[in-house]
Amino acid sequence: MQKQTAKQPETIVPSQLIVKLPDTPDETRTDVVLEVQSLEVYYGAFRAVKDVDMPIRSNRVTAFIGPSGCGKSTVLRCFNRMNDLIRGARVGGTILFRDEDLYGADIDPTEMRSRIGMVFQKPNPFPKSIYENVAFGLRVNGYTGNYPDAVERSLRRAALWDEVKDRLKENALELSGGQQQRLCIARALAPEPEVLLMDEPASALDPISTQAIEDLIKELVNDVSIVIVTHNMQQAARVSDETAFFMVDPEDRAGYMVEFGKTTNIFTNPDDERTEAYITGRFS
């Protein structure tokens, strides 16, 4: 265990098999992990989200920005079908996960969720030991390999191992807020997902912990595709490769996607004047 000094695990995870493409814009169809096509979300009769079309590319950070209530978190929760758990929620349109319909009748949502992990706004570790928190995702997915090694690997990937290696049996609630959130990231990484969804992962943290999370995102994106919802535009500019800008339609109060593109383009030279207004702070 101690011989392993490298920060990154040596095991090959499926997503590592995909070669990271150069930054040239000639992306091919094959690097698209999630393809969103005219997505709509209903809560009962109310249409909360409409007209979302975008590709989520592998080994990229895609950021969702926009004002409160514009549906960016709702869209994120469609990607691992967390909206299934809300009574009355219904999804229209199509989301293809590696060319398979995520909402297809033959898809098992629990199996699918182990391949598309999620980190929440507030750190929500289980009231169990640090070790058990990370092992939980392995247990429910019937992992049969070496648990201590897998737990260590996940904690290393989340840059938390050095801080907790001597206290794995301690209750996770005794960690600081920033450590708890990195533990939640380690927990989400344990089943080795291909996509990591992050719903404002740093909004409840102090600036130093936020910095740690952002560094971690840049590191992790070598292995997984990351979709991050943030209300902090600087954060989106710092960590993401591509950005989707959402707004609320004042007519029917539905959130919709205004523009999607490379982060540099969105922040320096957006196509849509509403995007520009929001980026430059002229938007109320």
């Binding site: 967390m82 009574r87 969720r113 992990g117 507030k122 289980f126 939980f136 429910v140 609630l173």
Partner: protein
């Protein structure tokens, strides 16, 4: 909305009223009737709170004083150590163990029904049931809790026992099994309702985290929600059991009046509570040693339930997790 123009146009607008009162600010309230009322209410509710404590102390004192008449003649070790209870019929013996065994047997049978079924019902209501279903089932469970215990007693004696006798033809009319099973049904609403409260108090963020890791509903219930609510669930079990130990009418009617040191549920037994009822209703003269046995048994019963309630409280204090 043009709030500004409305304020200018109408003399009743809030800003006008404030200015028209003459001075800029209203004076602070002086001591008046309101404070006086507060003091009276304070003393009244304090008296009510003290009353319940005083009652408990008075009960304990009366039990201790009255059972002194018993323990001054029969040593404590004979009371707790002897295995035969026959305070009226000769040869007399004052070993309380058969009564304790009877109580424990019925309580154990009740727990065997109420704990698994109660926990399953709580899991269903808290994790599985649609809101509509829950709104129907919860009141029904609560009605079950309001049925007088004498009704449960006759239910056990006249319905459950005949059914059980089809399975166990040798079983006596008065038996621990029937009383124990119905006891379980009786404390079920309490166990399930308190457990459900504990489970509903588990924050939703934990459920979401577990689902997002690919856990099924069953795994979320058994591996996350129940462990997180365990202190409350344990407290629910202990409160339910302590209710079963103290339950009187049901066992008096259905379990029999034969003090017996047995673990066979098909036999007729007698619980501590049923013994107290039997002797109080009889012709035993007050103040006699025979009569004083009920205070000794009552004191023991009080101590058992007290220890259980303290245990329940301690469990919640020690393992009750706090979430932010």
């Amino acid at each position: 909305m043009s709030l500004g123009s409305a304020a200018q146009g109408s003399p009743d607008s809030p800003s006008d009223v404030l200015r028209s009162s003459g001075s800029e600010y209203r004076a602070l309230f002086k001591r008046n009737k309101r404070n006086w009322e507060g003091a009276v209410v304070h003393r009244l509710v304090f008296a009510c709170a003290i009353l319940s404590i005083l009652t408990t102390v008075a009960i304990l004192l009366s039990l201790v004083i009255q059972s002194w008449g018993f323990f001054s003649q029969i040593p404590v070790w004979e009371f707790l150590g002897e295995a035969r209870w026959s305070p009226i019929l000769k040869p007399r013996s004052y070993g309380v163990l058969p009564l304790v065994a009877g109580t424990m047997l019925v309580t154990f049978l009740g727990a065997a029904v109420a704990i698994p079924v109660g926990l399953a019902a709580a899991t269903y209501l808290s994790e599985y049931a649609h809101d509509k279903v829950r709104r129907i089932i919860k009141p029904i469970l609560e009605v079950l809790a309001g049925i007088p215990t004498v009704v449960y007693g006759y239910f056990a004696l006249t319905f459950v026992t005949p059914q059980l006798q089809r399975i166990f033809p040798d079983m006596l009319v008065f038996n621990a099994l029937s009383a124990g099973l119905v006891m379980g049904i009786m404390i079920l609403p309490m166990v399930s309702s308190l457990s459900e409260d504990a489970m509903l108090a588990v924050p939703n963020s934990l459920r979401q985290a577990a689902y997002a890791l690919g856990a099924t509903r069953f795994e979320v219930s058994t591996k996350i929600v129940i462990p997180a609510a365990l202190s409350g669930i344990m407290a629910a079990f202990i409160i339910g059991l302590s209710r079963a130990i103290g339950e009187t009418m049901l066992v008096t009617i259905a379990a029999g009046a034969t003090p017996k040191l047995t673990i066979n549920p098909l036999e007729s037994i007698q619980t501590m509570t049923a013994y107290i009822v039997q002797l109080s209703l009889g012709e035993t003269p007050h103040g006699s040693l025979e009569f004083n046995t009920i205070f000794a048994v009552g004191l023991l019963l009080f101590l058992i339930t007290l220890v259980m309630n303290v245990m329940g409280y301690a469990i919640v204090r020690k393992w009750g997790l706090k979430y932010e």
